[in-house]
């Protein structure tokens, strides 16, 4: 399956891109995706551990199952207001 990954703010600058596509095995979770991203090295490997994840606009835990076509966002600590 393929999922779209979005990056924002400090994450986007660290990696040098705002989005990417990740190919994952069936049964993959958010955790699987994060491992795949980290294994890319460079800025990906240096992404801060302190981040939340959203799947299709909803905050999601590491054990959340992913499906083909999902939009997954890495959410750095938020600072609205």
């Amino acid at each position: 399956m393929k999922v779209t990954v979005l990056l924002f703010a400090a994450h986007r600058e660290l990696v040098g891109q705002a989005n990417t596509v990740a190919a994952l095995p069936e049964g993959a979770t958010v955790e699987t995706l994060l491992s795949e991203l980290k294994s890319r090295g460079g800025g990906w490997a240096r992404l801060p551990a302190r981040a939340a994840v959203a799947v299709n606009h909803k905050y999601a835990g590491g054990d959340t199952m992913l499906a083909d076509g999902d939009e997954v966002a890495l959410i750095p600590p938020v600072a609205g207001g």
Partner: protein, 148 residues
């Protein structure tokens, strides 16, 4: 009906206030957030707000609905701005009306506190000396991931 939006255009707080208020309401609370000219003693020139706009819209609608339920009033209006803002410009406006003041104050407070906890928006301060930095934010409680 609650109303919420995430926009790149200027915010008019009076227009947000006009979205609430019915004959049964005796109180309206209006909260306005603005860009401040300093942070921790450092002079600030302006602020850039970046957002995950689609998700921020969903989250803001959910926050408004929660506030409405708590206040027992569906007269809740909230808008958050994205983009480049100068000192003094409005970044967020929240209006709530209800029969009595306590519910209106409480609901408006709830909306701004939840925005700070979970709205996927980030801000970068530009300082007068030319430097800039992303502000330390709050890690959303849901879906915390801290051991990868």
């Amino acid at each position: 009906m609650t109303w919420s939006d995430v926009t790149t255009g200027p915010i008019d707080p009076a227009a947000v206030l006009k979205r609430v208020g019915e004959p049964r309401d005796g109180a309206a609370a209006l909260f306005v957030g603005m860009v401040r000219n300093s942070n921790e003693g450092r002079p600030v020139d302006g602020m850039e707000y970046e957002g995950y706009r689609d998700m921020a819209r969903d989250q803001l609608a959910a926050i408004a609905a929660e506030a409405a339920q708590q206040a027992g009033s569906d007269r809740v209006a909230v808008v958050h701005r994205l983009g480049e803002l100068a000192v003094g410009e409005v970044s967020v406006a929240i209006a709530v009306s209800s029969p009595h003041r306590a519910e209106a104050f409480r609901a408006a407070r709830y909306v701004i506190e939840e925005i700070k906890k979970r709205l996927p928006i980030w801000k970068r301060e530009r300082y007068l000396d030319g430097e800039q930095a992303w502000l330390e934010g709050h890690l959303p409680v849901t879906g915390v991931k801290d051991n990868r």
